[in-house]
């Protein structure tokens, strides 16, 4: 259902360039997110490897 009530002139050029800019600026943001996820994964892995040994019940000794 159509419910667009915007009343201002968005401007053709603004709409077109917006789509292009959104694609461009999404790349570093996407990459940053991927890198952050990768780093946190590595940290988690490293933390698990360095953790003190646990007994059978999982309690740290």
């Amino acid at each position: 259902m159509e419910h667009l009530l915007a009343y201002i002139d968005a401007g053709s050029g603004s709409l077109i360039i917006q789509a292009l800019i959104a694609s461009i600026v999404a790349i570093p943001i996407l990459l940053r997110g991927q890198i952050a996820r990768g780093v946190s994964g590595v940290r988690r892995l490293a933390g698990r490897n360095n953790a003190p040994p646990t007994d059978e019940a999982g309690h740290r000794g």
Binding site: A10, S12, S14, L15, I16, I17, Q18, I21, A22, V25
Partner: protein, 469 residues
């Protein structure tokens, strides 16, 4: 039975663009009517909980539902009574930091709306006001449900109303802030792009949202996208890219900075001719006069960084602190923000050229005098700047101040004062009437002098006056 009394309603002359509703006053009380065409969007907005969350966050002005029979016309399906804003200010009166904070809150509101499946359908700076020291969105009808893949319809408006002026102020000259008075719809991007230094093209945010944006506007000016009619054939943007766009805009705004120093009056408080005795004496007199006047609202005209505004605020007054100097007002704003104070609103105003009535039919944005609501005026260390610095006759000053408020605390600074000597250093003294006697004569028609007190340790005099009825 409900009665529609449209004949006694005073519709806000600046509230006409959005068909979703408008602002009006009845018996001096501010209301917002909602048009029937907006009902589905409004209900969806309320049902989503977004409204409550934005209000809770302090980003959107709260409202009380009002009886429908207060509506100004039969097309209205609801009436709201928004909480009032103490003093309505305009973007061309804001400091750099105020415009920047208003831009950021606009983006934060839009981002929060996107998360709930809504958008801000407009991004005008006039939808933001300062309340308790913080920017707040005042238009509850600025939301509509997001359409999947649709670009942000208010992107251009945001760039023109916020990003372009902020960039010009930061990179070219702080005085570009006053251009918003000329360009009420925002600074055209082609103009901003042409004026910004070339090095701003090295900043991704400004390169894309101002420079490339301006070129795209030129190139595609006559190409229909179908977006205005809600067609699905226009440019498409996924939700994640929408979010990235907002984050990019936010980053571009956040990185803009301006150091408030080096202007004429920014360091005035540090360079003033007062000694400790005079400063203490003046503070005591101001406090006593303000207390004697009473009332709730004080306008501090020529407030600089707000030393005396704070004295009035400490007496429980709500203060609007005007100064011509964007650096002094910015320092004032930053200091208040750092202290978390909301009882003083600093603004940039040139009293020799105050904000006029502007916009459609000269009524959309009101003049400074048209918004006068002060119980008391402070005009401290101001008179010599207007009378000698700007050649304003004292009788003119008397008349204008009488338009702004009913009670006045004014400091007379004699010609022997070092600051007046400074003003006269490079010009002929064409002010034979500039004396305390001349002041009394010029102000006598409009004002009754209730008390005169010397500022100890100086040749200055503080006067308390009441406007003649």
């Amino acid at each position: 039975m409900s009665t529609h009394r449209s004949d006694i309603v005073e519709r806000d002359p600046g509230s006409y663009r959005d068909p979703s509703g408008y602002v009006f006053r009845r018996d001096g009380v501010l209301y917002r009517s909602i048009d029937g065409s907006y009902i589905e969007e409004w209900q969806a907005f309320l049902d989503s909980g977004l409204h409550d969350r934005l209000v809770e966050h302090g980003w959107l002005i709260p409202f009380e539902p009002a009886p429908l029979d207060l509506a100004a016309d039969r097309a209205s399906i609801a009436v709201l009574r928004p909480e009032p804003v103490e003093f309505v200010s305009y973007p061309y009166e804001w400091t750099f930091g105020q415009l920047k904070d208003a831009a950021l809150v606009t983006l934060d509101v839009h981002r929060a709306a996107l998360d709930e499946g809504f958008i801000l359908k407009d991004a005008t700076a006039y939808n933001v006001q300062f309340r308790s020291g913080r920017p707040i969105l005042i238009d509850s009808l600025s939301f509509e449900r997001a359409r999947e893949g649709a670009p942000w319809v208010a992107y251009r408006q945001f760039c023109e109303q916020f990003l372009a002026p902020l960039a010009l102020m930061a990179y070219r000259d702080i005085r570009f802030g006053t251009w918003l008075r000329e360009f009420l719809e925002g600074i055209p991007l082609d103009l901003a792009s042409g004026l910004l230094p070339r090095r701003t093209m090295l900043r991704l945010g400004l390169l894309t949202h101002v420079h490339l944006h301006a070129r795209a506007q030129r190139r595609y000016a006559a190409r229909p996208t179908g977006a205005g009619q809600g067609e699905q054939s226009g440019p498409r943007i996924s939700a994640s890219r929408q979010a990235a766009l907002i984050e990019s805009l936010r980053s571009a705004v956040a990185k803009l900075d301006w150091e408030p120093a080096g202007t004429e009056w920014a360091d005035y408080a540090d360079r003033t001719s007062y000694g400790d005795v005079a400063t203490r004496s003046k503070e005591e007199l101001v406090a006593r006069f303000v207390a004697e006047i009473g009332g709730r609202r004080v306008w501090d005209l020529g407030a600089n960084t707000g030393r005396y505004s704070r004295i009035a605020a400490s007496l429980g007054r709500s203060v609007v602190a005007f100064d011509i100097d964007p650096a002094a007002a910015e320092r004032h704003y930053r200091a208040l923000a750092a202290e978390g104070r909301g009882d003083i609103l600093p603004l940039v105003i040139d009293l020799a050229n105050p904000s006029p009535d502007l916009g459609w039919a000269h009524a959309e944005r009101r003049s400074l005098a048209g918004r006068a609501n002060a119980d008391a005026l402070l005009a401290l260390a101001l008179i010599h700047h207007l009378v000698i610095g700007r050649n304003v006759p004292m009788s003119f000053l008397s008349s204008y101040l009488a338009q702004l408020g009913p009670d006045l605390v004014i400091e007379f600074v004699p010609k022997t004062d070092p600051m007046v000597q400074l003003l006269l250093a490079s010009r002929r003294d064409v002010f034979p009437d500039y004396s305390l006697a001349g002041f009394r004569a010029a102000f006598a028609r409009r004002w009754e002098i209730l008390e005169e007190a010397p500022v100890e340790g100086s040749a200055r005099v503080l006067l308390r006056l009441s406007r003649r009825s």
